[in-house]
């Protein structure tokens, strides 16, 4: 079966695009899929450090496009997962080094050999974003439960609709269940009501995400982390499995907490 090409975008910067790409890629590859992820943020590459592959880069995507190396030479194999590859962005060039047709051509060469191609879009609605969605079969919009991020997500969803790249699916990242409970954070229902698109996953705020990025080993490897579990669930949903959404009540009753501490839940 040819690869599914999935772009992750957000409009606003800093909502967790790169973290999501890295984690979904790890979760898919750990679950027997062949995955290539592409850093679409030319000039501001970061997917390499989140995946812990920054020391292995020799060639980048612009080298492939400009013919200085073959595609395979720019594909960095993951340290742990043999079926996970990264095509890094160029760091010393700008987004004008790549065009939408370059991206489409490059991805065409990957389609037959892999199950998933994940593209990390840059923030914004300009050329880098347009390049990132050019070849996408499916677009995931990621946002935080916060006014500016939701507003930008809505803009992006509108653009995707007018470019006929919709309907997009939503990842709601960094949800703080305690704040939702005290009604000081938009709830998943609020965000879905505002954006009116399909929900793919909810990722709770989790300090393990920062620890994981410090180490260059995405949180999806961490079987105890709630964010890791959320990303693994998203990966399964992308494969067509029906997985219930995480129980958002992080604390639960005292009894549930004790059970969780005792490892029974």
């Amino acid at each position: 079966m040819p690869a599914q090409v999935i772009t992750i975008t957000s409009g606003k910067g800093g909502v967790g695009k790169t973290t999501a790409v890295a984690n979904i890629a790890v979760a898919l590859a750990a679950d027997k899929s062949k995955v290539v992820c592409i850093d679409g943020d030319i000039g501001l590459r970061n997917l390499d450090v989140i995946l812990g592959l920054e020391n292995r880069i020799v060639y980048d995507i612009v080298d492939v496009i400009e013919g200085r190396c073959r595609l395979k030479q720019a594909m960095i194999r993951d340290k742990k997962l043999p079926d996970l590859y990264l095509i890094p962005a160029a760091q010393t060039r700008d987004k004008n080094a790549v065009s939408a047709s370059d991206m489409t051509r490059l991805i065409k060469d990957l389609r037959s050999d892999y199950d998933f191609v994940l593209i990390d879009s840059p923030a914004g609605i300009e050329r880098g974003f347009r390049n990132a969605i050019a070849a996408a079969d499916r677009v995931l919009v990621i946002t935080n439960p916060e006014v500016s991020a939701v507003r930008d997500a809505d803009r992006i969803i509108g653009i995707l609709e007018s470019e006929e790249k919709g309907p997009a699916s939503l990842i709601l990242n960094r949800l703080n269940p305690a704040l939702v409970k005290s009604k000081d954070m938009l709830s998943p229902e609020d965000v879905l009501d505002l954006l009116a698109i399909e929900l793919l996953g909810i990722v709770p705020e989790d300090e393990n995400v920062i620890i994981a990025s410090n180490r260059g080993a995405p949180v999806a490897y961490d079987m105890k982390s709630r964010a890791g579990q959320a990303f693994r669930n998203i990966a399964k949903r992308l494969k067509g499995e029906t997985i219930p959404f995480l129980d958002l009540d992080a604390q639960g009753s005292l009894w549930e907490r004790i059970q969780r501490l005792a490892g029974r839940k």
Binding site: R151, I157, G158, D184, L186, S187, D190
Partner: protein, 89 residues
């Protein structure tokens, strides 16, 4: 949010966020500013008044959304028509 904020009827901040976003998104999606909506309202009142008497003070014009599609909803109360001929008593 503190107990006292609640006591004095301060809204939960998530409700503020949702209400503010609802308005902002309508304007973002339609490219229609509140000022433009007001001028549209005035134009509508003027046009309709040429044909039928309306209660201009009570005209309500809103942009509502159904999923991702928007619709302009106008509620225009008509004034009771005055009889043109009065019966002589």
């Amino acid at each position: 949010m503190s107990f006292f904020d609640r006591l004095f009827g301060k809204k939960h901040s998530a409700d503020n966020a949702k209400e503010r976003l609802q308005l902002v998104l309508i304007h973002d999606r339609t490219d229609l500013t509140p000022a433009e909506l007001d001028s549209l309202r005035d134009d509508l009142i003027a046009t309709i008044s040429r044909h039928v008497a309306i209660d201009a003070q009570s005209v309500q014009i809103d942009v509502e959304h159904d999923g991702r599609s928007q619709r302009l909803v106008a509620d225009i109360p008509l004034k009771a028509a005055r009889r043109k001929t009065k019966k002589a008593r």
